[in-house]
């Protein structure tokens, strides 16, 4: 146990891991994009609208959310809010959450379900977890676009937030997400129950992250829960970028990159360490 603590804090190792991750990912970029494309197409293979669902599905889900906050739930962020403000507030958090749960929910079984590739040919299995992360990008961007629209209508958001903060938040979040996918993918090969555990955690997690709660309405214990989850920082970043249009808490923007780097480094190292023995259990 002590050993693994030391490894988590092993900074030079992490830097090396980050470099190797980035070079490997760059090297297999064509394959990764091709696999992502396949992943998105396969998901709706056989349906009448096909790939259109890639865009339609997040749009409809976010639209349904929007209508719910406008007309069903009567939560208002401030006097004068018609509900649209709250909707933009929630959806700015939902964007990251939906992308996260889409990718992470499938990460633990991605190696097993591509067992034929991993086992039979000389295949860079490193592309599989990344493909999941990239496949969640349409969901993220479409929800974000919707938030931008609503926020513009309610007078929230800013050009600065959209053009400067959003790209930064996006890169940090994708790095973090890729790391999570690597970690879960590697462990999921050996521990098949992980898929179900992750599923349960994801349903509960929606309420344990700063998504629905107006800042004043967060109970103190809940605030600590938020701080404990790395994902919260990225939700806050996206909220700053899309809803507030400004950096509301500078320390959040300072902590998020640390989580990103740590996640990718640990995820990559775990994956690389376990990968050679994947063949034993598939």
């Amino acid at each position: 146990m002590a050993n693994s603590v030391i490894r988590v804090l092993d900074l030079p190792g992490h830097v090396q891991a980050l470099l190797s991750a980035l070079t490997q990912l760059w090297r297999y970029r064509t394959l990764t994009l091709e696999m992502t494309k396949r992943d998105l197409l396969d998901r709706y293979a056989g349906s009448a609208f096909g790939a259109v669902w890639t865009f339609l599905s997040p749009l409809l889900i976010s639209g349904a959310n929007l209508l719910a906050y406008l007309y069903i739930f009567r939560i208002r962020l401030h006097p004068g809010d018609t509900g649209a403000g709250y909707a933009a507030f929630v959806l700015s958090g939902m964007a990251a959450w939906m992308a996260f749960s889409d990718a992470v929910g499938r990460a633990s079984s991605v190696i097993a379900s591509n067992g034929n590739l991993v086992k039979q040919i000389v295949f860079p299995s490193e592309v599989l977890p990344v493909k999941l992360a990239i496949a969640s990008v349409p969901t993220l961007l479409i929800t974000a676009a919707l938030v931008v629209g609503v926020a513009a209508f309610t007078g929230n958001g800013s050009i600065f937030g959209l053009l400067i903060l959003f790209p930064i938040a996006f890169v940090l979040f994708m790095t973090f997400l890729t790391g999570c996918c690597y970690l879960l993918a590697a462990i999921g090969v050996y521990f098949r129950d992980l898929k179900d555990i992750v599923g349960v955690l994801l349903s509960a997690g929606l309420f344990l992250h700063p998504i629905f709660y107006p800042p004043e309405a967060v109970p103190p214990w809940m605030a600590n829960v938020f701080l404990a989850s790395p994902l919260s920082y990225f939700i806050w970043c996206f909220r700053d970028a899309l809803y507030y249009g400004a950096v509301t808490h500078l320390w959040v923007w300072a902590v998020a990159p640390v989580w990103s780097a740590l996640s990718l480094a640990i995820g990559w190292r775990t994956f690389r360490a376990l990968r050679p023995s994947f063949g034993n259990v598939l």
């Binding site: 991993v118 295949f123 050679p276 063949g279 034993n280």
Partner: protein, 440 residues
């Protein structure tokens, strides 16, 4: 880890593949929970299965190495370790250059994607860029001869077609080392010839190939060296025809106890013993000089003590004339009684290629008459020497109908055919050509 180092950085004198002291033990857990407990807290809740034991060999650049062994001998495990899709428990394999592998047929390809999509995906997996796959696409499809099928889902391909496409893709990337697991056994004869040609072409260009095949003839035909694995251990390495002899013995030598011949006495002799003891403890005077090439195995309770080739007049001959009639005489001696036996007569050339094979059971000629214990008698096979000039070897076999071998003597006698001036030197057989020009 042999991932894909850039090709072209290989020194010419460096072997393409070095396998040093590889052992592989699969851990087998009775259920996943115990595996988790083991990995978290250590301990031994598993049993081990030793798939490979201290295997070492080198594949020089530009050579073809064949891997032989019975099912479960560890061939595929070894290939997977060399290809890098499996880790070794100890020892390591280093591969110089890009590896391409077909480890199981048709897999690695997605069954739902079309042939075209699979070619692209397969090419990308093997490290090509999209443009490179596009450039080679036509060649791949032409080689696989699947022009009309490329837009159909891969699962609708026949297994032979799947094999052809997989082979075409795996070989198109021009790897330094090509690993083929049984890839040559599927596909029709025509495609096999094409595959052989491609492998020879690879070899000419200094690439190395490791292949697993159960076909002794293809191992002999295309390999420079062969390696025989048995129960995870390398039991023989060297000249393909010598190694394939041993493999043949491994496959057929073990007589199952229930298959012993009906009139045989019930006390069962230790089956392996006569094989291991070799020829030394067999004193019978053997008129033909001992052939150093000979490889012999079997129960040898009834054995072929002598093989002689005689001419029409019954005179033993040293060399044969093409198209003449000869007889081959097996002197058979029975230590115990036996019946229903059949004899076989095989002819191979110096490369180990089987030129002719015949046995009395399969040919419908039936079995030999019963042998009494202690009996000794001759069996004659008449044949016409339809061979061209050259040096050949006769293998003589004596077996029960259930394939239990009494005596198998590979290459036990020389068969030398005198030059036939009318024929080209390279021909093997003499087809007794007659010639008519109807216009003359």
């Amino acid at each position: 880890m042999p991932s894909h180092p850039a090709a072209g950085d290989v020194a010419a004198d460096q072997p393409a593949v070095v396998v040093s002291h590889i052992s592989k033990a699969y851990r087998v857990w009775s259920n996943p929970r115990e595996m988790l407990m083991d990995s978290l807290f250590g301990g031994k809740r598993h049993s081990e299965f030793q798939a490979l034991k201290d295997v070492s060999f080198i594949v020089p650049r530009g050579s073809v190495v064949g891997l032989l062994g019975r099912n479960g001998a560890g061939k595929s495990t070894l290939l997977r370790i060399i290809a890098g899709t499996l880790d070794a428990t100890s020892g390591h394999a280093s591969v110089a250059g890009k590896v391409s592998a077909i480890l199981e047929l048709g897999t690695g390809f997605h069954p739902e994607y079309t042939g075209r999509e699979n070619v692209f995906l397969g090419g990308l997996c093997l490290g090509l860029t999209r443009a490179e796959v596009e450039k080679r696409y036509d060649e791949i499809v032409a080689f696989a001869e699947l022009e009309d099928f490329m837009d159909r889902p891969f699962r609708t391909f026949s297994s032979g077609m799947q094999a052809r496409l997989t082979f075409a893709v795996a070989t198109c990337v021009d790897p330094e080392v090509l690993i083929l697991d049984e890839a040559l056994s599927v596909g029709d004869a025509r495609f096999q010839l094409k595959s052989f040609d491609r492998i020879r072409d690879f070899k000419r260009r200094g690439k190395s190939i490791i292949l697993v095949s159960h076909s002794i003839s293809s191992i002999v035909a295309i390999c420079d060296r062969a390696i025989l694995l048995e129960a995870g251990q390398m039991i023989s390495e060297g000249d393909p025809s010598a190694v394939t002899n041993l493999y043949h013995e491994l496959l057929f030598a073990e007589a199952q106890p229930k298959l012993s011949p009906p009139p045989a006495p019930t006390h069962v002799e230790p089956v392996g013993e006569p094989v291991d003891s070799g020829e030394d403890d067999l004193p019978p005077p053997e008129p033909t000089p001992e052939n150093p090439r000979e490889h012999r195995y079997g129960r040898r309770q009834i054995e072929i003590v002598d093989v002689t080739i005689v001419n029409q007049d019954g005179v033993p001959v040293h060399s044969l004339k093409s198209l003449q009639q000869y007889r081959i005489i097996y002197r058979i001696r029975a230590k115990e009684a036996g019946s229903g036996l059949g004899v076989g007569f095989h002819v191979r050339n110096t490369q180990g290629m089987e030129v002719f094979a015949w046995d009395s059971h399969n040919s419908g000629a039936g079995s030999l008459g019963p042998f009494a214990a202690g009996e000794s008698r001759d069996v004659e096979i008449s044949f016409r020497c339809n061979l061209n000039q050259g040096h050949y070897f006769v293998s003589a076999t004596l077996a029960h109908p259930d394939q239990t071998k009494e005596d198998v003597r590979f290459d036990c006698a020389d068969l030398i055919v005198d030059p036939v001036p009318q024929l080209h030197h390279a021909s093997i057989v003499n087809l007794e050509v007659t010639f008519h020009d109807r216009g003359r």
